[in-house]
Symmetry: C2
Subunit: 105 residues, 2 copies
DNA sequence: ACAGACCAGTTTGTATTGCAAACTGGTCTA
DNA sequence: TAGACCAGTTTGCAATACAAACTGGTCTGT
């Protein structure tokens, strides 16, 4: 080792957005980003996450302002849907850019 | 949304090696991978991680079998160094491959 | 009508984590 | 030889990820 400073790609890794860095949330947000609106049930079955787990990760994303939660009824059954926000989309893009920039060949 | 199955890239994300997924450890392991042997002090100053933090992350990496810890003395002062193991190198490569394969364009 | 199976989603309890402050065991200096 | 200093570990704590247990409601069979 010759240099005494961490190269910038590694510095970037240390500063990654922890809300998005959690795999479950990265997947949730990515799915939300790929559709207008996504239902709870859909996320549950596709991701294989448990309801509780899914619920709390979504709360985190909501708190961070990365998704909007939409509560509605289909017939008489409650249906919860999610929509990525602008902030969420930006954060997601920034996250991928950071990763992309740090990947070794 | 039309499909009911999570695409394989997202599945990969959910299965990332959590030992390596932690940014601090990813950086430590990457530095170790770029040199024959790396000293504690060097990691401390380059990464900016606190001693305690660094120490416990390295313990994790050692437990996982990803680094070897080498204790020695320089004059009379203890010097601890780290060396990535084969398993560590493989895990790191696998991690980057997983990430690389999951990145959106 | 109503008991209980079922459903969508939340809350709670717990084990694990990441972190820095406090500590250990030692060397060096005045 | 007291105490400043150094390399690294342990401890204590706040924040997490997770699933089991729960809530509030609808539907089914009798």
């Amino acid at each position: 080792m010759t240099t005494e400073t961490l190269n910038p790609e590694m510095q970037t890794i240390l500063e990654l957005d922890r809300v998005i860095h959690e795999p479950a949330r990265l997947v949730i947000l990515t799915v939300c980003n790929s559709a207008e609106e996504v239902e709870f049930k859909f996320l549950e079955t596709t991701t294989g996450l448990s309801k509780g787990n899914l619920s709390s990760h979504i709360s985190k994303l909501e708190q961070a302002g990365y998704v909007e939660v939409i509560k509605a009824f289909r017939k008489k059954i409650p249906v919860t849907s999610f929509k990525i926000t602008n902030a969420g989309r930006e954060a997601l893009i920034a996250y991928w850019n950071a990763i992309r920039g740090s990947i070794p060949n």
